[in-house]
């Protein structure tokens, strides 16, 4: 399995470290071989030669070089040594997931470094962590015409790759997991997005009698629902108001009540403008049908 990118960068930083201040006639390949044979703790006591090193650190470098023989044997603390090795993991007890932290970024370098940082923080907080699991990357592609006008045949492809890593915390207290997430957020790195799903397990039995808890739960639910309903009711209009918009003056004009045909059939005042034709039934044999038609006409009107 290929080594992750952050290990390569750390190897590069080890190459840059040296015990004495920089000399112009230094041979690079000799020093690299020397550093490889030395133990990591002794080679890392000096400060790295970086453009970002502030003058006070450079002064420290000169001090170190003069006392280098005694400081070569100084052993770094275990936590500092562990920072240069792969992150330690705590063994899970039951394997039940408590938190799924997903890290997403457009670039791999800072994503892998941050995932590694999350793993180390989980170890020091005592959380059994699984990861970083690489989830499938998402590639979005767009093809655009190169010019701003015509020339459809010459186009250009662009893409955006989203890399994902998953860190899963198992068998931990939710408060500690919250602490870990807060720590990650406080030390968040640019270009890395985070999303966490938290899981909680609780027993089926209730602490006091079942009735007391149910009552308390129903009271809570009613209170919450009541709040929501009052909010909704304050926003909604009453049915009278809604109907008034359709029937009352001056809103009737909006839907054409005063139009040529007098609006839709059945509008107010329709009977005054139009008399329905009344059929006269003869008494002989049509008594039952008349009653039925009268009943039907009454129900329809």
């Amino acid at each position: 399995m290929a080594a992750p990118i952050y290990v390569e960068s750390l190897i590069g930083s080890v190459k840059r470290l040296r015990l004495s201040p920089p000399k112009p006639s230094r041979i690079p390949h000799c020093s690299r071989r020397c550093l490889a044979t030395q133990s990591p703790s002794s080679s890392l006591t000096s400060t790295p030669k970086d453009a970002s090193v502030i003058p006070s650190q450079r002064r420290n470098a000169t001090v170190v070089s003069s006392e280098s023989p005694s400081l070569r044997s100084v052993r770094l603390p275990k936590s500092v040594q562990a920072a240069y090795l792969a992150p330690l993991r705590r063994p899970p007890t039951h394997g039940l997931p408590v938190c799924d932290l997903q890290l997403r970024s457009y670039s791999l370098r800072n994503l892998e470094v941050y995932a590694d940082f999350a793993m180390r923080a989980a170890y020091y907080l005592g959380l059994p962590a699984k990861g970083p699991v690489p989830l499938p990357k998402r590639i979005e592609r767009w093809t655009t015409i190169r010019g701003n006008f015509v020339h459809k045949k010459s186009q250009e492809n662009f893409e955006r790759v989203t890399y994902k890593r998953l860190v899963q915390i198992q068998d931990s207290d939710s408060h500690v997991v919250g602490l870990w997430l807060a720590y990650l957020r406080k030390n968040q790195y640019y270009g890395v997005g985070m999303k966490a799903n938290l899981f909680q397990q609780s027993g089926l039995e209730m602490e006091d009698g079942p009735e007391a808890d149910l009552e308390a739960e129903t009271a809570k639910i009613e209170a919450a629902l009541g709040q929501q309903l009052t909010m909704l009711e304050s926003q909604l209009e009453s049915p009278e108001e809604v109907e008034g918009r359709l029937v009352d003056e001056p809103f009737k004009a909006a839907w054409g009540a005063y139009g040529p045909m007098g609006g839709a059939g059945g509008a107010t005042g329709a009977e005054s403008r139009y008399q329905p034709v009344k059929v006269v039934e003869s008494e002989r044999g049509f008594a039952k049908r008349k009653e039925k038609s009268e009943g039907a006409s009454e129900s329809s009107s």
């Binding site: 670039s107 655009t144 250009e156 492809n157 662009f158 893409e159 909006a254 839709a264």
Partner: protein, 113 residues
């Protein structure tokens, strides 16, 4: 348009008469969306009387065209172009290409595979 246009320009992107109009349409739609949805529901509810449904239909047709969601069009925020606009970047294709090549869009690079 004059009745809905904001007294003070409240656009953050490229200022164009088309962008101003589209922005005004979006604000008016947002303000009248509940009323429109209520009328649409009234029209489509088959258990209501026919009279109410017809009235709602008429009232919906009388509403100003700026309240309709179909009038809204995604425009380029850099040039105001209405065609060839990518949703993820809110830019038209040429502006997207210029900014992508300049490195202004995070994560986007020239594809080669």
């Amino acid at each position: 348009m004059a009745q809905f246009r904001a007294k003070k320009l409240d656009l953050g992107c490229f200022v164009n008469i088309m962008n101003i109009r589209d922005h005004t349409k979006r604000k008016v739609f947002e303000a009248h969306e509940p009323e429109r949805q209520a009328l649409r529901y009234t029209i489509r509810n088959t258990s209501l009387p026919q009279r109410t449904r017809a009235q709602a239909q008429l009232q919906l047709s009388q509403m100003h065209c700026y309240t309709r969601p179909t009038q809204i069009r995604n425009r380029c925020i850099m040039g105001g172009k209405g065609r060839g606009v990518f949703r993820e970047f809110r830019m038209a294709r040429y502006q997207f290409r210029l900014n992508a090549l300049a490195g202004n869009i995070p994560g986007v690079k020239k594809a080669s595979w």
